[in-house]
């Protein structure tokens, strides 16, 4: 049996995960694995459904980068604040948002948290404190920093986590947020997923830095660069950063080196990259690496994996059915919640004043 498992995973030794996951029980290691695999399977299923024309718009696949989001989000308390970017499916799945809200978001249906009015694939949920991501790059970096400020000012114990990509680190808002968080030692962890490409822009045209952790040097708080496809290293690093934030020691910037297997969105053939580069990173797939680690540590076996897969499959099926059966929003359903207060002069507009309207 052990031999079979060895042959099933043919990673070069250098990709093998080693070391302990600090403070993580076997039960939680397994649950974390389930969330990672769920994120992968959900994403793959959405890509298929997009190709079948089951929903409009496009889809932003996260496949390949799951560990960067899921591992830290999984460690958060429900009240901890998450400021994701548009590709951060794992911020929601990692924190435990039920998949049916995510499929409904992809489909723009009434059962999504915003009732289909906002933007497909921009996963969020108010009860899980995953904020509604802005399509404008790194805008949420500032919002998450504000949430961390709020928690500190209101003397709440919670922390904030913000996600962005390598491209976002060139934006002024990245600097303004990090700088402020450094000055005020805010309870926040900044995660930069360096997947080497900002849409079609190679990272060498975003920055002259090789390791983006050095960005933190400018803000007076620690920065670290890790293999974001190594679940064990990611666990230990994010755990320490979260402890720093909770203890009042201030922010940490973590650069996670990773890769998106597919295009910027699913209408992008990503032909600006070489096949060799893609193959190189697919070999470093975070999920089978972690699976092997769990098998080696006797946390996961074939039977357990079958159970996990069945649960995931069932939840995805249910979530897809939920979205496909969820009504499309009424055409004028977006005409609400412009303002919280009432104003005598506000109206949605009249396209034919004094005449008949349709």
């Amino acid at each position: 049996m052990a031999e079979e498992q060895e042959t099933q995973f043919s990673f070069p030794a250098k990709y093998r995960l080693t070391g302990e996951m600090e403070g993580c029980t076997d039960e939680r290691k397994l649950e974390l694995f389930e969330r990672l695999l769920k994120t992968r399977e959900f994403d793959a299923r959405m890509r298929k459904l997009f190709r079948q024309g089951r929903f409009e718009g496009t889809f932003y696949s996260q496949i390949g980068q799951e560990a960067c989001d899921v591992v830290i989000a999984y460690q958060l308390d429900k009240q901890d604040f998450v400021g994701p970017s548009h590709r951060d499916l794992g911020a929601s799945t990692g924190k435990g948002v039920p998949l049916k809200y995510l499929t409904a978001q992809v489909y723009n249906r009434v059962d999504s948290p915003d009732g289909g009015r906002y933007t497909a694939c921009h996963y969020w949920h108010p009860e899980f404190w995953v904020m509604n991501p802005s399509t404008s790059i790194v805008m949420n970096w500032i919002a998450a920093t504000g949430a961390a400020f709020g928690y500190k000012m209101l003397k709440k114990d919670n922390v904030a986590v913000a996600f962005c990509g390598d491209g976002a680190t060139a934006h002024g808002d990245f600097h303004e947020a990090c700088n402020f968080a450094g000055v005020h030692r805010l309870p926040i962890v900044y995660v930069v997923q360096n997947n080497l490409w900002a849409e079609s822009l190679p990272v060498a045209l975003t920055t002259a830095l090789t390791d983006l952790n050095h960005r933190a040097d400018a803000y007076g708080f620690p920065g670290v660069s890790i293999d974001g496809n190594d679940v064990v290293e990611t666990w230990n690093t994010t755990r320490e950063a979260l402890m720093r934030a909770r203890s009042g020691a201030g922010p940490t910037l973590i650069e996670m080196k990773t890769y998106r297997w597919h295009g910027h969105s699913d209408i992008d053939p990503a032909d600006y990259r070489s096949d060799d580069e893609v193959a190189h990173w697919m070999e470093r797939d975070p999920i089978p690496r972690y699976e092997q680690y769990l098998r080696e540590h006797k946390v996961l076996n074939d039977d357990a994996l079958v159970e996990v897969r069945m649960r995931i499959e069932a939840e995805i099926e249910e979530a897809v059915d939920f979205a496909e059966n969820s009504p499309r929003p009424a055409p004028d359903a977006y005409q609400s919640h412009v303002y919280a207060e009432a104003y005598p002069g506000f109206e949605f507009g009249d396209r034919n004043p004094g005449g008949a309207n349709g």
Binding site: F81, P113, I142, G150, H337, A340
Partner: protein, 327 residues
């Protein structure tokens, strides 16, 4: 009763509201240690401490945008842009995030944010210290804009804005800071309603529609014309977004003539929106062309001679009102 200035009314209201609500905090450039470049925030740091009175780095995008996350977790933020001219780096956060977040989340998160913008000319500040750039934000549903033109409203609109659950841009005119004084009783808690314009002076011949500093000029022009027997109705808009259409329309139904006054350049200014409302909704009540007295379509000049030339004057407003009446 004590006579206080427009800026004192702002300062006093900030003190009162921050005392009343411990979830409020103020963030801006030079707002703490220095008490604000105009002293609008003086004494607040001493009273509320550095956790709630934040001297921000020079980061306008952060000042505006961090309020979204802070509001989500239960704060009532009071950001300040030092000069309204410096709001452009924050534009992205204001229009895409602050103004829309309530809509984007279908009401899950209210944005009780009051962003103060010292604006306007007449202070010899040159182009980066003088603009009236409120119209930049008119095309932004979800945002509220108020612009007090009196000492009472400087307090009353600020109090209403701070207590509102919506994001409010509060436009305070620098020229009025110390030139305008009025009695404001201690402990006054008047809330000027947001979304309501006021007929500040009644008249039957022509309506002057304005806000802020030029509203005061309209009152002066009305005084002058009264000597010639011309009765000017003066409307203080108070809220610029969403505009109170009905007060304006009712007045035009009475006078049939409208002169709209603001400092911002005429093209794309708020006057255009009001003129369009009047054309659309009370065309048959009008018996003269709608007139706009506004800033010229250039950048704002520095030298006093040019600044005086640029800004609408009482005489020009009176002339436009008279022309409308004589049409």
């Amino acid at each position: 009763m004590a006579e206080i200035t427009y800026i004192d009314a702002i300062n006093r209201t900030l003190h009162e509201e921050m005392t009343r609500d411990e979830t409020t905090f103020l963030i801006g450039e030079d707002t703490g240690i220095y008490g604000g470049v105009f002293k609008a925030t003086r004494g607040l740091l001493e009273e509320f401490g550095p956790d709630r009175i934040v001297d921000s780095p020079i980061s306008e995008s952060l000042i505006a945008g961090m309020t979204v996350g802070a509001a989500m977790v239960g704060c009532r933020p009071l950001p300040e842009i030092q000069f309204a001219d410096f709001i452009s780096p924050a534009f992205d956060q204001i229009v895409q995030q602050v103004a829309r977040y309530y809509w984007r989340t279908r009401g899950a998160f209210e944005m009780p944010i009051t962003l103060r913008c010292p604006y306007g000319g007449g202070v010899g500040g040159g182009v980066f210290h003088s603009q009236s750039n409120e119209a930049w934000f008119m095309n932004t549903p979800g945002l509220v804009m108020v612009a007090p033109g009196s000492v009472r409203d400087a307090a009353g609109l600020l109090r209403s804005a701070i207590r509102s659950q919506d994001p409010v841009l509060y436009w305070e005119h620098k020229k009025l800071y110390r030139s305008l004084k009025d009695d404001l009783p201690d402990g006054d808690e008047t809330l000027t309603p947001i979304g309501k314009a006021e007929v500040a002076r009644t008249g039957s011949h022509v309506t002057a529609i304005s806000f802020g500093y030029t509203y005061q000029l309209c009152l002066e022009a009305a005084d002058q014309l009264a000597e010639d027997g011309i009765e000017v109705e003066v409307i203080d808009l108070k809220t610029l977004l969403p505009l109170d259409k009905s007060t304006v329309i009712e007045s035009i139904a009475k006078t049939g003539k409208a002169v709209i006054v603001h400092e911002a350049p005429k093209v794309g200014g708020i006057g255009g929106e009001i003129a369009a409302i009047l054309a659309e909704e009370c065309f048959w009540e009008l018996d003269a062309p709608i007139t706009r007295v506004a800033g010229y379509n250039t950048s704002f000049p520095a030298a006093r001679t040019m600044e005086e030339h640029y800004m609408p004057s009482t005489a020009q407003i009176a002339a436009a009102l008279k022309t409308a009446v004589e049409t």
